[in-house]
């Protein structure tokens, strides 16, 4: 593999020293491979968080429902997905449960497992957010003639939204890191690519170091975007 030269970035002698290191060459000639892996990780995370948010909201509402059946289903769901490791869930769904219903590739299995897992955490975030809205708000909305679901949609959820944003961004960052676990079912995301490169080059420090850098850039970017959104919400 040819190495893309960047001597202008380092100066000629430093460049020579660096290219004498095998691990550096491995990373330098595979940077596009890492970036692609980062994009797959990002796709996986965005899809899972989006699906997890929709499902999580439904489960949160189910859990707060007066119908015992609905609320106990939600409780069992949340308990199961928060009480067992994501790594185990990923293998359970990919090899165990999903093959009964669909012929899902690793990526789809990964998205499904991560979404279902994320939904459990989102449900608890949403429930906490809704319950943090002052009880008087619901009473006021009801006294204005709204029914329960109208009050929820137009009064409670918009206020809960503000409270929920910071922990939701946190969940996004957590899930981005947790998607590394789907490497066990051969999704070509960042960690899996690191594993493949490392398994043939044995350059542990360089390969895993590079993987860390890409993860860090992604999580830092999301955290900064989160700060920006929080600031905007605060001034509104």
């Amino acid at each position: 593999m040819a190495i893309t030269p960047y001597p202008m970035l380092f100066g000629a002698t430093l460049w020579e020293k660096l290219t004498a290191i095998n691990g550096f060459n491995v990373v330098a000639s595979n940077w596009a491979y890492f970036i692609e892996g980062g994009l797959v990780t990002l796709q996986l995370t965005v899809l899972s968080v989006s699906a997890g948010m929709v499902l999580g909201l439904i489960i949160a509402l189910m859990k707060m429902s007066r119908w015992r059946l609905l609320s106990s289903v939600a409780v069992i769901y949340i308990d199961f997905f928060r009480g067992t490791p994501l790594l185990v869930q990923v293998m359970l769904f990919h090899f165990g449960i999903l093959p009964i219903f669909i012929d899902s590739g690793p990526f789809l299995s990964g998205v499904i497992a991560c979404s279902l897992n994320s939904a459990a955490y989102v449900a608890e975030i949403v429930r906490a957010g809704i319950q943090a809205v002052d009880r008087g708000q619901m009473e006021a909305a009801r006294s204005l003639g709204m029914n329960g679901s109208q009050a929820m949609r137009y009064v409670i959820l918009p206020q809960a939204y503000k409270i929920v944003v910071p922990p939701m961004i946190n969940e996004f960052v957590m899930l981005l890191k947790d998607t590394s676990l789907v490497s066990v079912i051969a999704v070509m995301e960042l960690t899996h690519r690191g594993k493949l490169l490392y398994s043939t080059t044995y350059e542990a420090a360089w390969v895993w170091g590079a993987v860390c850098v890409v993860y860090y850039i992604m999580t830092k970017t999301i955290a900064m975007m989160g700060d920006w959104i929080e600031r905007r919400l605060a001034t509104e």
């Binding site: 093959p99 012929d103 590739g105 066990v184 051969a186 490392y198 044995y202």
Partner: protein, 267 residues
């Protein structure tokens, strides 16, 4: 409520202490009536114990068993070493040697040019080679070349994975899914996520006779048949290399090697 919590915490503490104590007690117990003085030297061995019949965990006892395990224990015995085996990912074996985490690795590792750049190998001890496995009902794939353009599953860092990747040169549509262990690759094959698995013949053979019975079959001839397994040693560690080779030679002359071989491979 608080009382219960306290009680629970105390109970947990007691249990964990008991568990640790239980383990600690087992370790130093000297074997009564051992003829040889307790071997002072320890040989730390790395393996990936998910590769029957070479190295795997005995379902009943939880011990590491298999051809490689018997072999390295026998080498330790004739050379006066206490063998301590630890299981890890196959892709972690070579880096563990390089980082001095283990002294040797024995894990059905083929002696390849690429690996020789990173580590040294003992004299070869097993004739390897690759074979193609497909689902038992498959009739279209009959040899290695038929796999071009298909979905394959393999284990990370193996020569089977390399041979799978190589098919991409023939047909870029070839997809290779790499798993941490060969068990997952076979599962992917059985559930329909892959159409073929390229792997070491002895392992695929064993799987076909055990867990994969009636689910998978092998097709075509063994290829890369000049492949040989070696025991991995840190690059430049001549002392350990010589010790292992000596032990291997002793076992071969005494006939013990053949006994171990016959125990695991009937033909």
């Amino acid at each position: 409520m608080k009382k219960h919590l306290k009680l629970l915490l105390v109970a947990m503490l007691v249990f964990s202490l008991a568990a640790v104590g239980g383990c600690a007690q087992k370790e130093p117990a000297p074997q009564p009536g051992a003829q040889t003085p307790a071997p002072a030297k320890v040989l730390n061995v790395g393996t990936q114990a998910t590769y029957p019949p070479f190295e795997f965990v005995d379902k009943a006892s939880g011990d590491f068993i298999g051809f490689d395990m018997d072999l390295i224990r026998a080498i330790g015995k004739v050379q006066g070493y206490e063998v301590k085996i630890q299981s890890m990912g196959f892709d972690a074996l070579i880096p563990s040697l390089q980082a001095d985490k283990v002294d040797v690795t024995i894990s059905a590792q083929s002696i390849t040019e690429d690996r020789l750049k990173a580590i040294d190998f003992s004299d070869p001890y097993f004739k390897g080679g690759l074979i193609v496995a497909v689902r038992a009902d498959n009739t279209t794939i009959n040899k290695y070349d038929d796999l071009a353009g298909k979905k394959l599953a393999a284990e990370v860092g193996t020569i089977g994975a390399a041979a799978s990747e190589k098919l991409k040169e023939k047909d870029p549509k070839t997809q290779v899914r790499i798993f941490d262990g060969i068990g997952e690759a076979f599962m992917e094959l059985e559930k329909g996520g892959a159409e073929g698995v390229i792997n070491d013949w002895a392992v695929t053979d064993y799987y076909m006779q055990t867990d994969g019975k009636d689910k998978i079959k092998v097709v075509g001839e063994i290829f890369q048949a000049d492949d040989q397994y070696g025991i991995g040693i840190k690059k430049g560690d001549a002392e350990t290399l010589q010790m292992i080779n000596e032990g291997l030679a002793k076992l071969k002359t005494s006939g013990e090697f053949d006994q171990i071989y016959k125990k695991w491979f009937s033909e």
